[in-house]
Amino acid sequence: MISRVEKSFPRSAACLPEIFEFMEAFFERSGIAEPHRNPTEFAVEELFTNLVKYSRGGTRDISIELTREADRLVVSLTDFDVEPFDIRSLPDAKVDLGLEERKPGGLGIHLVRRMVDQIDYRYEDGRSTTTFVKSLE
């Protein structure tokens, strides 16, 4: 079984409810079980908001593509006409610090790494694509 959807969203956190609606509709249609949904939505939210905040040069909508394969879900976010932005190079957050030393922020990508099974990155002609895989087993 393979099914695929793609949609583009304006670069604003205000679009998140619309993004979740798009994802939930796909999850329903392609039979993604409940325990896989929140971690996948979490990873998409963190990657999307990272692109909105930090991707240099970005003005165009961000494309989100969801593909259901037999035993895994493949999700890609593509940003156009931007400089390379590979989240795999970002360090993990220091989560063992006490409250005084903790600062809000920096947790997003640290957590994405723990919610998904694989993260890949591709850059070509101004197209910056982050792809992650969520195992459905």
């Binding site: 963190e46 908001t49 957590l111």
Partner: protein, 99 residues
């Protein structure tokens, strides 16, 4: 959509989905909390890093004046996210009791 309100015993009740589009609402509600509170997360089904940041900021502010937030009924996805964020180090956390 996130709902945030005070419960019958003065606890802060968070329910629904705490994503980045809801952070301003939660931040402005928690800014009015000036003393120690229980935060009931029984019906909170989702939280992202911006939501974590809002809770962390409130905890830092309260602890500076000798108060704190105690998180109760932490379950499922939210519990997993708290764990990987090291929140056990900075909050008193009470998981959902077994049924």
């Amino acid at each position: 959509m996130l709902e945030i309100k005070l419960g019958e015993n003065g606890e802060v009740v968070l329910s629904g989905r705490f994503d980045a589009s809801q952070a301003d609402k939660a931040e402005s509600f928690l800014a009015d909390v000036k003393d120690s509170r229980v935060v009931d997360l029984k019906d909170l089904s989702y939280i992202s890093s911006l939501g974590l940041g809002v809770l962390l900021s409130a905890q830092k502010r309260l602890m500076a004046s000798g108060h704190s937030l105690r998180l109760v009924n932490v379950r499922g996805h939210v519990r997993e996210i708290f764990h990987f964020s090291g929140f056990e180090q900075v909050f008193e956390i009470e998981p959902t009791p077994p049924a």
